[in-house]
């Protein structure tokens, strides 16, 4: 009997979670709107879709298969692939390592200090990349306030990882936190009553119940970091084989070899689509 209730709440909880993460609940029921409003909503949605499709397809139209194959013969681009994947691997691991305990902390105790923490970690998320880059340069550069602690990290691979971590961690933490705090209180209480310790709570209750939230958080934060440009170019610089990522390589190519830039952009968009499909269709709650 008690098991039944547990399952029931879990189901409710996960369906709520799904709605909260990707689709605002009120759009689920279009019929609740009056007829003209329905038409307006459909019209706006259609316009939006057409707009996005047009913009993205312009790249696909402009590129050719030969260009795309050509991309893989360029040493610079291959090293940009390597740098991008390698740096993302490191920063993603660090993000998971630091992000899980942090999101657990701020999701569990609804205290005043958590609101402050919330604001603080939201800030990097909303900061314009140019400001992020400048701030990193000022803190880690030769004259930086952190320069006494570290060697000069600007224009280094470590600098690249720092930039990625700076944008990934808040996105990951906030997304996972939302997922954590949407878990039914009753489940938590039940676990606590049964004598679960804090680490049991995190690893046996919170994480298993928010697998979807976790994967989503990881994927979108990795994609966000993969697309990071402004702060990277300011702080990590542009050095092929050392700090040049795919996004900075694309920027560099738009100024010299447009067809290769477009081809690389097409490859990158396709690579972005795969994990997004994964999030929408594959991950079961």
């Amino acid at each position: 009997m008690s098991e039944n209730i547990f399952l029931e709440t879990e189901k409710q909880n996960s369906s709520y979670q799904k709605a909260a993460l990707f689709s605002p609940a009120y759009f689920n029921d279009l019929k609740s709107f009056s007829f003209p409003a329905q038409i307006l909503i459909i019209l706006i949605a259609a316009l939006n879709m057409i707009f996005i499709a047009f913009v993205i397809s312009s790249l696909f139209i402009e590129s050719s298969v030969a260009d795309i194959i050509n991309v893989f013969s360029s040493v610079n681009i291959l090293s940009a692939f390597k740098i991008t994947f390698f740096s993302l691997g490191i920063s993603a691991s660090l993000t998971v390592l630091l992000g899980i305990p942090f999101s657990y902390l701020i999701s569990r105790r609804n205290q005043y200090i958590n609101k402050i923490l919330n604001i603080l970690i939201s800030l990097p998320l909303l900061l314009p990349p140019s400001i992020t880059g400048l701030a990193l340069l000022l803190s880690f550069g030769n004259r930086g306030i952190l320069s006494s602690l570290t060697s000069n990290l600007a224009f280094s691979f470590a600098g690249l990882v720092i930039v990625q971590l700076f944008v990934m961690l808040p996105l990951f933490t906030l997304t996972l936190k939302n997922s954590f705090s949407s878990i039914d209180e009753n489940i938590i209480e039940a676990a606590v009553v049964e004598g679960a310790a804090e680490n049991d709570l995190l690893f046996k209750v919170y994480l298993p119940l928010s697998l979807r939230g976790f994967t989503t958080a990881l994927i979108i934060s990795v994609l966000r970091a993969a697309g990071e440009f402004g702060a990277t170019i300011i702080f990590a610089g542009n050095m092929s084989g050392k700090t040049q990522t795919l996004t900075t390589a694309i920027y560099s190519l738009t100024q010299t070899n447009l067809s290769q830039a477009v081809a690389l952009a097409v490859i990158m968009i396709s690579a972005f689509l795969l994990p997004l499909f994964l999030v929408e269709f594959r991950i079961k709650d």
């Binding site: 709107f33 009056s34 003209p36 409003a37 307006l40 706006i44 340069l137 000022l138 550069g141 030769n142 004259r143 930086g144 000069n152 600007a154 224009f155 280094s156 170019i233 702080f235 610089g237 542009n238 050095m239 092929s240 050392k242 700090t243 920027y251 560099s252 738009t254 100024q255 010299t256 447009l258």
Partner: protein
């Protein structure tokens, strides 16, 4: 509640329409695409020009010449193109996007050192130090000039081993290839890197920077070219002539550009 939502959406759409109509009805300004290194003199020239010609307005877009070049090729509307080398202007000319190619200023390279670091006396000392070096990307005129200058410097060294060693030192000293000269300048100023190679005109008295001159024997002469868009308005031609006028040339000279003989 629904009515509020609908009216909100409608007013949003109307707002967008208003913004669009406003943009199209705004008076057309003369759009100038200018190499980043021209920023200081050109801003002063712009001010003077607008005082003398009250009915024309200038809109100057500064970036690395290669970035401006690709923007123009992609169809950005412009009236004048001020390039830091001939290469990009020439290519646009071949594609019939630009007419004329007139030299209006010249420049040369210098080394800048962040003043927290010990000053070095010349290029050789710089390459034998452990300083990190910022230069322009190969596609950026200043980066292209830097590589040319460095190759000429290498040629002046007869010892083959020494030459190879200096070349290796150069390659390992360069930490980033920036997309315009001002990024090199400002990042060295901030102390993100110890040294950089920029134009002479970029350097002005600054407590954060030392200047190290590069001898004329292997320094390069960077020439700035001025091109006019095919469908330039008369106002744009006026500004074209203004840049070649003595008033503008004096301003260029003030910012350490080398003057050119202008004869038309």
């Amino acid at each position: 509640m629904e009515k509020i939502k609908i009216s909100l959406i409608l007013s949003f759409i109307i707002l967008i329409l208003i913004v669009f109509t406003l943009q199209t009805s705004a008076a057309a300004a003369i759009r100038v695409m200018a190499a980043a290194s021209l920023q200081e003199p050109l801003n002063e020239i712009k001010e003077k020009f607008e005082i003398e010609n009250t009915n024309s307005e200038l809109e100057i877009n500064y970036a690395g010449s290669q970035a401006l070049f690709s923007q123009i090729k992609l169809g950005v509307e412009f009236d004048l193109f001020l390039s830091a080398n001939l290469h990009y202007l020439d290519q646009l000319k071949k594609e019939n996007l630009v007419t004329k190619d007139k030299i209006f200023a010249k420049n040369e390279l210098i080394i800048i050192i962040n003043s927290r670091n010990k000053k070095v006396a010349n290029l050789k000392q710089l390459l034998n130090s452990d300083y990190s070096l910022l230069i322009g990307a190969e596609s950026v005129p200043v980066g292209d000039y830097t590589v040319k200058m460095f190759n000429q410097y290498l040629k002046s060294i007869s010892n083959k081993e020494k030459r190879q060693k200096l070349k290796n030192n150069f390659d390992s000293a360069v930490v980033s290839r920036e997309f315009d000269v001002k990024s090199v300048l400002n990042k060295v100023k901030l102390g993100a890197a110890e040294a950089g190679i920029v134009y002479l005109s970029d350097y002005n008295q600054d407590e954060n920077l030392h200047k190290v001159e590069i001898p004329a024997e292997y320094n390069i002469e960077a020439s700035y070219y001025l091109g006019l868009s095919q469908q330039s308005q008369t106002e744009a031609v006026k500004f074209y002539n203004y840049i070649l006028s003595p008033t503008a040339q004096e301003i260029f000279a003030k910012y350490n550009f080398k003057q050119v003989k202008i004869n038309e």
